[in-house]
């Protein structure tokens, strides 16, 4: 490819008095060029942003005081999930916050799926109530978890004072500061 035929048109002999011109090789050492090429490649690989940020949609429920506009929720079909301090998740089934249980972000999927299996699909609802100590990442992770687990009905709701108290007490009992 980079070589050229330097033997000179058919190789006919010149006369005896004619001095032979020195044949210079046209082969170039390409190693530095390859080095340079790869250096630039690494530079572009590191500076490039290949993955564009994606967007996750969230629909908020409308606040309403009228009871007939509110969604009815069966007690047995509800699962309340509350992310707390230090990436811990607290959850309880039904409407009684005293039945609180501790979990973490890895184990919560099984909890949700287990509850989903036991409940009627059209009634099942997950209520997300992030505490004041939860981070934004915790919240997004849980919303993402809903998509991953195929939960159709879920809502992001403000935590009540009672629930927050129970979460704090559980945290204290477990020694989480």
């Amino acid at each position: 490819m980079a070589e050229m035929d330097t033997s000179g048109g058919g190789g006919h002999k010149k006369g005896p008095g004619v001095k032979k011109a020195k044949k210079l090789s046209t082969r170039v050492d390409l190693t530095p060029m390859v080095d340079l090429g790869f250096l630039l490649i690494t530079f572009f690989i590191f500076t490039t942003t290949m993955s564009q940020p994606t967007a996750m949609k969230l629909f908020l429920p409308k606040d309403t005081d009228k009871p007939d506009e509110q969604n009815k929720l069966k007690e047995s079909a509800a699962l309340t999930v509350m992310p707390g301090k230090q990436n811990k998740v607290y959850y309880y089934e039904g409407l009684d916050p005293t039945k609180i249980q501790t979990s973490n972000f890895k184990a919560i999927r099984d909890v949700i799926l287990d509850k989903k299996r036991r409940t009627d699909a059209k009634d099942f609802m997950v209520i997300l109530k992030p505490t004041q100590d939860a981070t934004y990442k915790n919240t997004v992770d849980l919303l993402d978890e809903m998509t991953i687990d195929g939960i159709k009905r879920y809502a992001l709701v403000d935590i009540t004072l009672d629930e927050y108290k129970i979460v704090t007490l559980t945290e204290q009992a477990n020694g989480i500061k």
Binding site: G37, T47, T48, Q52, A55, K57, L58, L60
Partner: protein
């Protein structure tokens, strides 16, 4: 017995092919690269399985940094909307902004909103060189009686009337939930029930329901 002669081979290899490959890759990366725009705020977004690409036109972006401070910016191309927003806020809050101060916000993306109304005039008055490294207090949202983001979102909704507005939230992993709650309240008060959160993409974990659904349909799109 004479030993068999091993012919000496040259150790130099023809680099031409390698050179070709290197430059082919190089040209690909040069063409495919898109430089990261310099950002005044560093925000590490959480990841999600959503694969919808975030919009970059007609955007009203609410940024939340790791301390939970709230900032507001509008995409650069929407200058008429920006003008309306700043005019609306100026009249509603009686800030007495001069045209030069308004133009700073309208024309220069470096002037994003990250101060309470009381400091807005002096902030927009600053020359651009002073903006870098400035520690902005953020838009107050935490107190429900003093949520200034409500007014900003109202102004934005008014400005984007008739056209589609993309409400985006870009939050840092470590931001605490109450800041996000303040943003949600501001959206709700203005009947903006639909918004999007900017995340970095990850694939759905193997074996999960979403993963099965994606395998079945053969596509990766998640709304």
């Amino acid at each position: 017995m004479p030993r068999a002669k091993i012919p000496r081979k040259s150790t130099s290899i023809d680099m031409t092919a390698m050179c070709d490959v290197a430059f082919l890759l190089l040209s690909f990366f040069i063409l495919a690269t898109k430089f990261k725009p310099p950002e005044a705020l560093t925000v590490v977004t959480p990841s999600s399985v959503s694969s919808k690409i975030a919009k970059d036109v007609d955007v009203v972006l609410v940024t939340m940094d790791k301390d939970g401070k709230i900032y507001l910016s509008v995409s650069d191309k929407n200058t008429p909307e920006k003008k309306e927003i700043i005019e609306a806020v100026n009249t509603a809050k009686n800030l007495g902004l001069t045209d030069a101060e308004k133009n700073n916000f309208i024309k220069n993306p470096a002037y994003f909103i990250g101060v309470p109304f009381s400091q807005l005039k002096s902030y927009l008055d600053k020359p651009q060189e002073q903006l870098k490294g400035l520690n902005l207090p953020g838009i107050p949202t935490k107190d429900s009686t003093d949520n200034e983001l409500i007014d900003w979102v109202r102004a934005a909704v008014g400005a984007f009337q008739g056209s589609k507005m993309n409400l985006l939230v870009k939050g840092d992993n470590e931001a605490k939930y109450p800041s996000f709650q303040g943003v949600i309240i501001a959206f709700k008060k203005n009947d903006q029930m639909k918004f999007q959160m900017i995340t970095s993409p990850v694939t759905a974990p193997a074996g999960s329901e979403l993963w099965k659904a994606q395998q079945a349909s053969g596509s990766k799109s998640v709304e």
